[in-house]
């Protein structure tokens, strides 16, 4: 496959593949879009949370009297007050092993607070200012306990956080198809690499903080919940399960949602508290998160220590991978917390053809904010460890980073590829993405310039880093999820209905929050029906309108939800054909669908527009026997496999030896997600994803002190990059369709983030390698880089990296 190949399987050259401008834009550009906090709900009470200032403390007593007496305050509720509201603890849907240890986790802490930010009481007042005022008047008597902050310390059980569990180790999960083969490969290796990497904790920082409104109907029994969530459908089920509300009475709506990146793929305490308080008081109840509150109250990402080992022969051909992880769960298990590191478990050999494999991960509790999905979820961590280690191997073998990769790529004729970790990679052709990415940055010229600077003894070092990734996304085949102990399926639903006047409604179970499904789903349908995308409206994110769905995360929307839309469209076409054949008195096979019209082949005058067919279906005056009076189809699609997008990224950095400052000079990415429904949107996903991954490499880290206090909860101190810090990004792509779905498509939402962190760090290490520097921890802040240079200069030799 090459960059010029574009032929989406099963689609004609219509709306599919066009750079169609987004249907979503006008309302968002004019202030008409409604986010949760924008909703005007008459009579709604405002909640504010009283949060623990201690990472680990017993709650001796809570005095709510003074707060309750303050102006506008309607209730102050503690964990004990709300204990009766919960039918079950907060859900963890992914018990990864049969013996996984999980503490009961209730929305308001009872007896003990386990991280700074843990909710210990709730203030309910008539205005948001009054609620905030009263928080300070709630007096909580804490008995501080020894906090567990360091991950390796936590694993040692010096202090056990959850008394009933007896240990901080939640689980150990192993994937080791043939341990002896791994041992043999290491024993026989010419080169081995042994590296330790730290995946720092990250704050996701969706620009819209979270928010929720729960609106009860005390007499009718219904409950409507608006939430800034990625998962309205899953949230509906979980509200029913945890708050004992009959599920058929619950409606969840995700209105405009201002980004998620995994952080809104969760069931949160505040959502359940809003439901409980609204039902208790019988009035609408709402809460909007503050930014500094978000830093501790919303899940964080990453948080792993990785031990990564490679064995290789004399030419640098990798013969075994051994990866051992310690993963920070935080204080409790949120919806998917324990499973997140395991989404990378299969990918520690990535794009390379490796015959022996061992992966092990231990999940550990700490007194910190719970972790969960953050853009890429397990796959960026795997790619980082592997691509860093491949560069270490290249240094050990004495070849260029590009060359070590070429020697190890899975050959294009091996697809579908049965991986040692047990996956079947659907399709791939990796080397062309490397070739093109190197071409985009002018690789040979850059190496020449790098040599020139080194020989001249310049103090502004040039570094070129690269990484090739493959990821598994399109979550997910339900049976595979069952084998991983995940508590739900991975299918997605779609309904396509042609209305009597000929316009079309598409109902999707996905829940977009920036991805542009209203545009791309319309393109898929328009392409197949041969009509104008503007005649199509996509409905989503409201469980009353779209009752069936599993929402948006894990780069699943297109390869699962979009494929379901295509399949439902095809069923509508089949039904239209039946009705039209009856009307036109011809055989169904004689009909062709051209430009929204069913025409009899060879007799173009004999035709019916889709609109006429829809009207026939609506009047039902003359339908064939057994045909329902509608032009509607609903499909629920369970994918047979994950999809496996891939690509190669190259970063060019300049490192100032005197200041430690790293400047990102250039960045190129060549990605392959199969046929692109809308290249403009694909590029947008990549731009944002690349910057988010580069931000992990260069700027972002949730920094905690020894007491478990987050030192940088505001956007003053937590360095989300601005436009001034990032370069333009050069993109190109190849097209290798997936053979496993009707559109040939693969997901692209996480790919940029997966590729970019190792690419940037590899570039920095490359820049500093003449000084003997082989590792810079993330984020590579000027201080950290400067210190590494100082240390390297003072020892006048390399730090060593365990390579032999």
């Amino acid at each position: 496959m090459t960059a010029t190949e574009t032929s989406p399987a099963g689609a004609s050259a219509g709306a599919f593949g066009q750079r169609l401008l987004r249907k979503e834009d006008a309302r968002l550009l004019t202030g008409e879009g409604r986010f949760v906090d924008d909703l005007q709900i008459p009579g709604a009470l405002w909640m504010a949370m009283v949060r623990s200032p201690f990472a680990h403390a017993r709650i001796r007593s809570i005095d709510t009297g003074a707060a309750a007496a303050m102006p506008g305050v309607r209730a102050v509720l503690t964990g004990a007050d709300l204990a009766g509201a919960w039918a079950a603890p907060m859900p963890c849907a992914w018990p990864v092993t049969d013996d996984m240890k999980a503490p009961d986790h209730f929305p308001v802490a009872q007896g003990k607070a386990c991280y700074v930010g843990d909710i210990v009481a709730v203030v309910v007042a008539e205005s948001r200012y009054q609620a905030a005022d009263a928080v300070d008047a709630v007096v909580v008597d804490y008995d501080p306990l020894d906090p567990v902050v360091d991950l390796e310390d936590a694993a040692g059980d010096r202090v056990v956080i959850h008394d009933g569990l007896g240990t901080n180790r939640s689980y150990t999960w192993t994937l080791s198809p043939d341990p002896e083969a791994v041992d043999r490969a290491f024993a026989d290796a010419t080169h081995t690499v042994s590296e330790r990497y730290v995946q720092q904790r990250l704050i996701p920082v969706a620009m819209e903080p979270r928010g929720v409104v729960a609106i009860p109907a005390p007499h009718g029994g219904e409950l409507t919940v608006y939430s800034a969530t990625q998962i309205p459908h899953i949230l509906k089920v979980m509200i029913a399960a945890t708050c004992a509300v009959p599920e058929h009475k619950v409606r969840v709506i995700a209105p405009a949602v201002g980004g998620g990146f995994g952080s809104k793929l969760d069931v949160y305490a505040e959502e359940l508290i809003a439901v409980a308080v609204a039902r208790r008081l019988g009035v609408p109840t709402r809460w909007t998160e503050g930014r500094s509150e978000n830093a501790v109250a919303t899940i964080q990402g990453r948080g792993q220590i990785q031990h990564m080992e490679l064995a290789a022969d004399a030419e640098g051909k990798v013969t075994a991978v051994r990866a051992n992880l310690t993963a920070d769960m935080g204080a409790y298990l949120q919806l998917a917390t324990p499973g997140i590191p395991l989404l990378g478990a299969f990918l520690y050999h990535g794009v390379y053809d490796v015959p022996a494999y061992h992966f092990e991960c231990t999940g550990v509790f700490t007194n910190l904010t719970p972790t969960d999905a953050y853009r890429g979820a397990g796959r960026p961590e795997a790619t980082y460890a592997l691509e860093r280690a491949m560069d270490a191997l290249a240094r050990a073998v004495g070849v260029d980073g590009a060359e070590i990769r070429r020697r190890n790529y899975i050959a294009p004729d091996k697809f579908p590829y049965e991986s040692i970790a047990g996956l079947t990679y659907d399709s791939g052709n990796y080397e062309p993405t490397l070739d093109r990415a190197l071409e985009l940055v002018g690789y040979d010229d850059l190496r020449a310039e790098q040599r020139r600077r080194r020989e001249a003894g310049e103090t502004r070092h040039l570094g070129i880093g690269l990484a090739t990734y493959v990821e598994m996304c399109g979550l997910a085949p339900s049976r595979v999820l069952a084998s991983l102990n995940y508590g739900a399926g991975g299918w997605e639903a779609a309904t396509v209905r042609v209305l009597p006047t000929g316009t079309v409604q598409v109902v999707s179970g996905t829940s977009p929050h920036g991805q542009g499904h209203e545009t791309t789903w319309a393109q898929i349908v328009a392409d197949r029906l041969g009509i104008d995308p503007d005649a199509i409206e996509v409905l989503h994110s409201d469980t009353a309108i779209s009752p069936i769905g599993l929402d948006t995360y894990g780069s699943r929307s297109l390869p699962v939800g979009g494929v379901a839309v295509a399949m439902a469209t095809d069923e509508v076409i089949a039904k239209a054909r039946t009705i039209a054949a009856h009307q036109l008195e011809c055989a169904e096979d004689d009909l062709e669908l051209v430009d929204g019209e069913l025409r009899v082949r060879g007799t173009p005058a004999k035709a019916m527009t889709l609109q006429a067919v829809a009207m026939e279906a609506f009047t039902a005056h003359n339908l064939p026997d057994g045909v329902d009076p509608n032009l509607t189809a609903q499909v629920t699609y369970d994918p047979p496999n994950f999809v496996f997008p891939f690509g190669t990224h190259v970063a060019v950095v300049e490192v100032d030896e005197d200041t430690g400052r790293v400047e990102l000079l250039d960045y190129a990415a060549v990605d392959d997600c199969g046929p692109q429904v809308n290249p403009m949107i694909v590029e947008g996903q990549l731009h944002g994803g690349i910057v988010q991954g580069a931000a992990q490499a260069l700027w972002e880290e949730a920094v905690y002190d020894d007491d478990g206090n987050l030192r940088n909860p505001s956007l003053i101190d937590y360095c989300v990059p601005s436009a001034a810090e990032v370069p333009n990004i050069k993109l190109d792509h190849t097209v290798t369709p997936s053979p496993t779905n009707a559109l040939g498509v693969k997901g692209i939402g996480e790919a940029g983030t997966i590729g970019s962190a190792p690419t940037v760090i590899n570039a920095i290490v490359d820049a500093l390698s003449p000084l003997g520097i082989t590792d810079i921890a993330m984020p590579a802040t000027p201080e950290r880089v400067w210190a590494a240079i100082r240390d390297a200069r003072s020892t006048q030799s390399g730090t060593g990296e365990g390579a032999s």
């Binding site: 004019t30 903080p209 944002g688 994803g689 333009n728």
Partner: protein, 162 residues
């Protein structure tokens, strides 16, 4: 305290608490919810509006401080550009964000657009670097800024590279 603001060309008189933030006044009292709140430290710029034509982070200003001033929010931007409020009209900067795919989730967008309008008033022909530095006070998590920068350059009538 009673204050009177000119908001998107209309006189609006209200009785507000002295501590009320301008952004809460606009959103909760006047119903202009297009202006968003993304942080609590004046870092993200989602709340950017124009006060007497200049961009201001409305989470850092008390409503009483702008008594008697002219405020333009995202809801009034098209009218400010075209002289009327015809439905469906967009300001050239809004239009450029649309054509250049300068928004995804759209939460930072109103503030980003207002900051860009102000930037282009000060510097009608910015370089790419001028735009990047000029928008430093507005954060976006979706776009990586690539297409935002292109949108602002497009609105300015400048050549944009791929």
């Amino acid at each position: 305290m009673e204050i009177t603001l000119s908001v998107n060309g209309q006189e609006r008189t209200s009785d507000v608490e002295p501590r009320r933030l301008l952004v809460h006044h606009l959103r909760d009292d006047l119903g202009l919810t297009g202006t968003n709140i993304g942080c609590d430290t004046s870092s993200c710029g989602a709340c950017t509006v124009l006060v007497d034509g200049e961009s201001v982070k409305s989470c850092t200003v008390l409503a009483v401080q702008v008594d008697g001033r002219e405020i333009t929010t995202i809801e009034g931007l098209a009218a400010a550009a075209t002289g009327d409020g015809a439905a469906g009209e967009m300001h050239p900067v809004q239009q450029a964000f649309h054509t250049q795919h300068g928004l995804q989730c759209g939460f930072c967008t109103p503030g980003m657009v207002m900051a860009a309008v102000s930037l282009l008033q000060e510097n009608p022909h910015p370089s790419e670097q001028d735009v990047r530095l000029g928008l430093e006070g507005n954060l976006c998590r979706c776009t990586g800024y690539h297409n935002i920068v292109r949108a602002v350059l497009t609105a300015a009538g400048e050549e944009v590279s791929a």
